[in-house]
């Protein structure tokens, strides 16, 4: 396999979190409790080896606390592995949380600029996309009102529209498809399908078996920080529902 065909490569990667029973945030606390061991190291992901090819759509499934979101955060480089390496080829857009950096007092349009700039877009790149973002969000004339006046559905629609229109090679999505009403959700699904056809690599965390089956060719089942099963979506889902059902 040639190297440029691989979008994400994870080698012998482990991640621990240091869990403080009661965190010493200040110097005083640190001095007073010096040597008192009130922390615990928790292994969240253990020895993960993973190769995701360019153009693949992969679902991460597993029960709560199995390390799915942590894995996505590691791929985006919000956090770093304790051991091993993660290599990502291409530009990453992560939809881990919608509306990062949204400011309630600014209008929808201004927030598009601010939010998209956090994803690393320049002004001219945003200018080019702004119409399709506004169209996709279906906000119409509300786009120029401050977003504190938006309903939660409108807010999510705007945030999703920005994130999905950032032209990335690798798209990471964390259980955010519960956006808007039924019709808008379908629209999002179709948009994702379109991105898939364009050859984007997608990794997405979901608890919805239907969505996973609809979108993904491959599923990875995480259990207690380890890969339990990796393979064809249908096989993995079948086994997963049998055991965790």
């Amino acid at each position: 396999m040639k190297n440029n065909e691989i979008a994400i490569e994870i080698k012998n990667m482990s991640k621990n979190f240091i869990i403080y029973a009661d965190k010493a945030n200040t110097l005083k606390e640190r001095i007073i409790r010096f040597n008192k061991n009130n922390k615990e190291i928790r292994m969240v992901l253990e020895n993960i080896n993973l190769k995701i090819k360019r153009g693949e759509t992969v679902a991460l499934i597993g029960v709560n606390g199995s390390g799915k979101s942590t894995l996505l955060k590691l791929i985006t480089k919000i956090i770093y592995p304790s051991k091993g390496t993660i290599k990502v080829n291409g530009k990453v857009s992560s939809l881990l949380e919608l509306g990062a950096g949204f400011h309630p007092d600014f209008s929808g349009r201004e927030n598009i600029y601010f939010n998209a700039s956090i994803f690393g877009l320049t002004k001219s790149e945003i200018d080019k996309r702004i119409d399709s973002i506004i169209n996709f969000s279906e906000l119409g004339e509300y786009i120029d009102s401050p977003i504190r006046t938006y309903s939660s559905g409108m807010y999510m629609r705007l945030a999703f529209s920005v994130a999905i229109n950032v032209d990335a090679d690798v798209i990471l999505i964390d259980e955010i498809l519960a956006v808007g009403d039924q019709r808008f959700q379908e629209k999002c699904m179709n948009k994702m399908l379109e991105l898939k056809k364009q050859g984007k690599t997608m990794v997405f965390v979901s608890h919805s078996a239907a969505a996973v089956e609809f979108l993904c060719d491959r599923a990875i089942w995480l259990n207690n920080g380890k890969i339990e099963m990796d393979g064809n979506t249908k096989d993995v889902l079948e086994k997963y529902t049998k055991i965790c059902g």
Binding site: F17, I78, I79, A100, G101, Y113, S117, I118, I126
Partner: protein, 257 residues
């Protein structure tokens, strides 16, 4: 080099971030950006009343003597105090999105630079009104501003990243900056410092920076270029050191916040 590349890619975010830092400061106040002028002006008046009359200071044109040092000091003071908070207060986006974290201290330092350049209007107005005016030494001013900016950027990287782990830094700095104010020749002139303490004062790069501002603007003298380049070199080393510390500490920002 990789860092420059990344920051260049995220330049739009840097721009909006500087704008937000700069505008956000006076948002919802009636006088808005006017406070950028009023604040230092009132501060100047207070010092100009206290030091000559009460402490019997007999420097010529004391207001000018004071203003050319006080404005750079304010630039320093504000940058350092805001830097300490700049990572912690942006915890929300740090935990959610990837972007070069360096942008936050750079943005804090730069928005304060813009603020400083605006207050320079007061400085020049005062220079002309008092009849001192400007001399050829003014050509060195941009270099001094650059040196100060590099120095502050370095400290900004250091304090912003350490504060994430030890929150006390923010409060310790408040006290420390009060001390620093009197360790720099702002309200007094450097030759009032007893000789045996002078080497201690001179360890502080800010001491020299303030001295240069006064030399260029108040005394209208050309500074010694060799010394100036030495200072520039030291400030670049501090910046490199700051970046190294920041790079080391930034990996666990999202977990510590």
């Amino acid at each position: 080099m990789k860092l420059f590349n990344e920051i260049y890619k995220y330049r739009e975010f840097l721009k909006t971030s500087i704008k937000k830092d700069f505008r956000g400061k006076y948002k919802k106040s009636i006088l808005g950006v006017l406070w950028s002028f009023l604040n230092p002006l009132f501060q100047l008046l207070i010092y100009a009343l206290v030091f000559p009359f009460i402490l019997k200071n007999d420097v010529d044109n004391y207001i000018i003597f004071l203003i050319v040092a006080l404005m750079p000091w304010n630039f320093f003071n504000m940058t350092i105090l805001q830097s300490a908070a700049c990572i912690v207060s942006n915890g929300g986006i740090i935990k959610k999105v990837f972007f070069p974290r360096e942008i936050l201290p750079i943005s804090t330092t730069t928005s304060n630079l813009i603020n400083f350049l605006i207050t320079c209007i007061i400085v020049f107005a005062a220079l002309f009104i008092s009849g001192i005016g400007i001399g050829p030494s003014i050509v060195m001013l941009p270099l001094i501003v650059l040196i100060q900016y590099i120095f502050q950027l370095g400290l900004s990287f250091i304090f912003s990243s350490i504060t994430v782990y030890i929150r006390d830094i923010e409060y310790l700095l408040n006290v420390f900056m009060m001390l620093m104010f009197y360790m720099c020749p702002i309200v007094y002139s450097a030759d009032m410092i007893p000789n045996k303490f002078l080497p201690l004062f001179k360890l502080n790069p800010m001491f020299h920076i303030i001295e240069y501002y006064r030399q260029i603007l108040y005394y209208k003298q050309m500074p010694n270029i060799t010394n100036l380049l030495w200072l520039l070199g030291i400030c670049i080393i501090i910046l490199a050191l700051g970046l190294m510390i920041f790079k080391k500490l930034e990996k666990r920002f999202a977990e510590e916040l």
